[in-house]
């Protein structure tokens, strides 16, 4: 495979393969940033992959008080799923169990669109008849009495059918510490991109997967081609000096958001250089037949 080098970091002539998804976004506010983030982190826990969690979710950006509907600090959280029904179910359960319960929280639509999901319209029943409906300037809110006052929640939130899930970067390094340094640099850069999230722990995956496995019922199993300990015994993608690989998985509100995020990640990793970080950047795909969206690394160079 011909390789291009930027600042000592080799870039594979390959592409990331990603899939169309349904996505929505909500704005969570609280009396201060700590509690806005706490509610957001709690509701996006166990939401790394649609394979086992039903959805993929993470904080998109922190919002200043001037950017939120109620003038308090907030976060924009994005949630991705493979179907509208599953997205509705995950949204309702997660906001109901994790945001409604968080002290001082309120929840607003973070996305507009012709397709809508229920938000407060489903959670209002917690009010047991004491809930109050308010329409202000074309927006509909539900006020649900709770023990610290009221949980205010917008009735509905928009949903996009144009979201993309599964953009990725594989960062190959000489040691675990260098792989982690490169991945952390990429995560920090991608966090600045609006409309893109990284649902895995801290934005990083160490257990990249391939489709299927030798055991019946396994829809995904270890990506042996990128596992350094299997270098001698399997058809490996790794050269002798690679000892650790970490992956960044990116979901975006639009295909452009995914491309921008991957571009920002590649820029950060190449700026860090091969001496401190990754020796090589690659990407995961399934031969190009499964996913509608292809992101060629050579098109995303800094």
């Amino acid at each position: 495979m011909p390789r291009l080098k930027v600042n000592g970091v080799a870039i594979d002539d390959t592409f990331a393969e990603a899939f169309g998804m349904r996505a929505t976004a909500i704005v969570i506010t609280a009396p201060n940033r700590k509690w806005a983030r706490q509610a957001a982190v709690t509701m996006t826990g166990f939401a790394t992959s649609v394979i086992g969690c039903g959805c993929e979710a993470a904080i998109d950006v922190d919002l200043a008080p001037s950017e939120t509907p109620d003038g308090r600090p907030g976060c924009r959280v994005m949630i991705f799923a493979v179907s509208t029904d599953e997205l509705q179910k995950q949204l309702q359960n997660r906001v109901g169990q994790c945001v409604l319960t968080s002290p001082g929280s309120a929840c607003f639509a973070g996305l507009e669109g012709p397709n809508e999901l229920k938000l407060g319209a489903a959670l209002r029943y917690f009010g047991d008849g004491w809930q109050i409906s308010k329409k202000l300037g074309g927006r509909h809110f539900w006020r649900v009495p709770v023990m610290d006052g009221e949980f205010v929640c917008e009735a509905t939130v928009g949903m996009t059918k144009g979201a993309v899930g599964g953009g990725n970067l594989l960062l190959l390094a000489g040691s675990n510490a260098k792989a982690l340094a490169a991945a952390e640099a990429a995560v920090a850069a991608i966090n600045e991109v609006r409309g893109a999230i990284m649902p895995f722990p801290g934005g990083i995956v160490r257990s990249g997967s391939k489709v299927g496995g030798k055991y019946k019922g396994m829809t995904a199993s270890t990506n042996d081609a990128f596992a350094p300990t299997l270098r001698g015994v399997t058809k490996s993608e790794l050269e002798p000096d690679v000892n650790a690989v970490l992956e960044i998985v990116i979901d975006g509100e639009t295909s452009d958001a995914v491309a921008s995020a991957m571009r920002a990640g590649i820029k950060a990793v190449t700026q860090l250089g091969s001496a401190k970080g990754a020796l090589r950047i690659s990407a995961g795909n399934y031969g190009g037949k499964l996913g509608k969206f292809h992101y060629h690394l050579k098109d995303l160079l800094p």
């Binding site: 003038g71 109050i132 409906s133 300037g137 009221e150």
Partner: protein, 269 residues
Amino acid sequence: MKALTFTLRAAPPERLDLSPLTPQGLAGLDKRAIQAIRLGQSKLASTVGDIFRIAGSNANSLVFEGGSSRFDGVATGMTEGTVRVAGDVGAQAGRGMRGGQLTIEGDAGPHAGSGMRGGRLEIIGSAGDHLGAPLAGELAGMNGGVLIVRGRAGAFAADRMRRGLIAVLKGCGDHAGSRMIAGTLVVTGGAGEMPGYLMRRGSILLDRAPKSLSPSFVECGAPDSVFAALMDRHLVTEDILKRPLLGRAPRRYGGDNAALGLGEILFPA
């Protein structure tokens, strides 16, 4: 195209029903047809041509140059466009409005915005009794839209209101928001006796503690309120108020427990 302008020739000799003069009612009519519309309610039977000089042709934007307390039913049932009255109006201005914008630069008589369902009605002067309220025999008053009175309103403002927003900026008479079914009434400058009397649901937002309340209202504390923050921002961004009304944690009274008891009266702590 210039706004279709009705300039008052002289003080009207009788009460006028201006309800035919709406953007949707005049769309497609030529000047002669408009002049022939009967407005007078007595045997004088004044027509538009008797009362007004007409200029302009854009029926989507109506202007009345000069007003009178004999102008009844201005912009009744309007659904679109704008109507501006440079003067006073009589009873039932904007009654049953569904859309568009009605601006009254003078005072309005009783039942302004009665049974309104949508649109925006702004009265720069003061309004009479029964602002947004139902006529006798009707079950609900205002049912949507935004009604702003920059001056004072009379008694029974927002009576039986069901939906929408009414804001009265220089105080109102007794029994504001009586029998409210839902919706939001904002009063700055002081409300009269017993606001919210027999209200079922809905919110009455005041800039100060009410001078009297029906004894069937109960005190409900003053926790931090996101609703107050949303409301304050909405009132300022919509140019209804210049500064926030309620603050972070307004005091709340629930009632009227002589009726359903799901309503509230909020005012700054």
